[in-house]
Amino acid sequence: MEKSKSRRLSLRRYSSTSSATPAKLLLGLGMLGMVAAACGSAAPAASSTSSTSGPTELTVGTLYAGSGAFASSSLPQLAGLKFWASQVNQSGGVFVKGLGKKLKVKLVTYNDQSDPTTAATLYNQLITQDHVNVLTADFGSVLTAPAITIAQENHQLLFDETGTGASFFQSPNPDLVLTALPTSAIWPTPLVEFLLAKHIKNIAVVYCANDFDQSQANTVQSLLKAGGVTPVYFQAVPTTTTDYASTIQSIKATNPGAVLELGYANNDIAFLNDLQAAGVKFPMTMTVFPTQLPALLVKDVGAKGLQYTYSYGVPPILQRKTVNFGLTFGQFAQAFNGNSTAPINFPSVAGYTTGLVIQDALAHATSLSQSAIRAGVSAISGSLKTLDGNFQVNSSGAQLGELLPLAQDLPPIGASGSNFQIVYPAAQATASAVYPAP
């Protein structure tokens, strides 16, 4: 705002003349500002819209966290999606059944800095200002949550990549599709089966208070209960927790046979580090992220800190044999390595998988309308098999997919600093579990 203008404006309010003139001026100024703001925010956006009869490109809108708590997962996820887009564009674009032709993919991305409030505004921007054809969410439940109502209100189909919080999928929702993972509530099923099979008593659970971790913790608790076991320690800590020293002492006092720490990457790193710092070893320690972000965990925790710990078996540790669409993991790893500087980890696989789901759904969609795309998703549900396994959604948008096996970091340590092997269930196992940890 220009100073001279505001000075004249405000001056008016002290004089006794009519207020009509300042009112007009202000209106003009206000409008100017709004319009300018609109232009400013819209500037990086694509200009294409879905309303024209012959679209030349397909706009895919997404958010990423360039910094903050989720950046370490969000950036590789975006890299995976970008990798998919470049692969598709190399082959001439993505085929839309209803148009009978291929469209080049154009990504529209904004940085939400791991902040859900900013994310809400930006999701709204993607839908109402950029009119993207396909909307995908940022990494994780926290940054996906704001998108869900906004998408629903605008009848925009939301491709939820990794927001697996159980609360999103409680009622039928035609505007939501979870692409890369089953809901977090079913993740721990094989884990608990393992605990019960090994007859491990004194189980301690510490989890971060967020949708993602709490739903896992609740599943652990109820499955254990069904098996006749009550955890000796079951506590929530804030997701911002970075100091586990006293928590570890409290857990240690219960003399646990297994300790499950369910958190995000920062929490897992802090927990594993504080274990080492306090010189404490449990017979079994399980955390969530060592298999999803192996490089980061090895760097921050060290090979020694990860040794004999457990985690979920996800790609790349878990390699699906039957792939009927897109690259196999081996092919992906090779191509992605040459294409991107991002690490090959679970989020990058998830980003790529989301692209594949979109691609296959469009190949079955009769038009670019959101309902037609959703129909395309229904058409492929149950038959699509990617490097991330079966893709199957229910009416609330939840992915049933496949259960996540249990993995353990076993010697010998490879060059990467960790060597997670599937240890349960037996059908998928590549090694047998070492319990208790030496």
């Binding site: 020293a245 409290s250 404490v280």
Partner: protein, 289 residues
């Protein structure tokens, strides 16, 4: 139990270290430096860089940081306080002002280091140490080995040096000090410098004691430090240590027995002290509006 006490005392000393500079500034200038916690974070980043980029012991950041921190503090003083003292409500205005300074530091830290959590391995100083029948993180010993001498130096500066006596004279009454031949501005600037040095010097420890730092850690640290000095009485340097130890013990016990409420400890303690005994544990005069 023993573990909780040891933990409480060590964290208490650490928070006394963090609070010492803030209390010094309040005593001398009667203002709350809301950027204090951010200065601690700056020290933490310095240690992180020293460790990661230069590959040397992060605690070397403490001696490395002394002179730049002193210069920064003196600069901050001359850049703000002389003009500030003309304001109508100096105390509230200074609060807003240093809030702005806090935002600037936080923004610069974000621009330079990103807003990710930055941490160093707690094994930097070796594996766990067996002491009093407990297995303690080695960095706790480092923390004790740094905070205790630092607080002793702080005490000697205030009570045994000529500058210290002059500083305390300014704390008691700046007009009286000026007419005793003391250059109040210079003493205040030095106090600001020393306060900043203590803030920055406590940063490397924060990296370990807090499990890591991010630009947003600053405001929490300021509040915690304020709580510590309110408990021990504002403007009373000895009170800071008592306040710190008390705070550390309460925190440690709540963490052990009521862990989900641990984050509320500084705030609830601050409110309790301000509403029940605003003058703090060592304070005599009640300070109401």
């Amino acid at each position: 139990m023993i573990y909780a006490i040891i933990s409480g005392l060590l964290f208490g000393l650490f928070f006394a270290f963090v609070g010492a500079g803030l209390n010094l500034l309040f005593g001398v200038l009667k203002l709350v430096n809301l950027a204090h916690g951010d200065l601690v974070v700056v020290g933490g980043y310095l240690a992180y860089e020293v460790s990661v980029k230069l590959g040397i012991n992060p605690m070397l950041a403490v001696p490395l940081g002394v002179i730049p921190a002193f210069v920064l503090g003196v600069g901050l003083y001359y850049g703000t306080v002389p003009r500030l003292s003309r304001a109508e409500d100096t105390e509230t205005t200074s609060l807003v002002l240093f809030f702005g300074v806090s935002m600037i530091i936080e923004a610069l830290a974000t621009i330079l280091f990103g807003n990710n959590l930055v941490s160093l391995s707690p094994l930097t100083f070796g594996p766990a140490v067996q002491l009093f029948g407990q297995s303690l993180p080695s960095y706790w010993l480092v923390a004790g080995g740094i905070t205790i001498p630092a607080l002793v130096i702080f005490y000697l500066y205030l009570y045994r040096s000529q500058f210290g006596t002059a500083t305390r004279a300014v704390m008691v009454n700046s007009d009286e000090a000026a007419t005793s031949g003391i250059n109040v501005r210079r003493i205040s600037a030095i106090a600001f410098g020393v306060g900043t040095v203590f803030a920055v010097a406590s940063g490397p420890l924060a990296l370990f004691m807090l499990g890591g730092i991010s630009p947003g850690t600053g405001i929490d640290l300021t509040l915690t430090a304020f709580t510590v000095i309110v408990i021990g009485s504002l403007g009373n340097p000895v009170g800071t240590v008592i306040g710190g130890l008390l705070y550390g013990l309460v925190l440690s016990f709540v963490q052990t027995y009521l862990s989900s409420w641990a984050a509320a400890v500084p705030y609830v303690l601050m409110l309790a002290v301000l509403l029940i005994k605003p003058s703090g544990i060592l304070g005599k005069r009640v300070r109401n509006a």
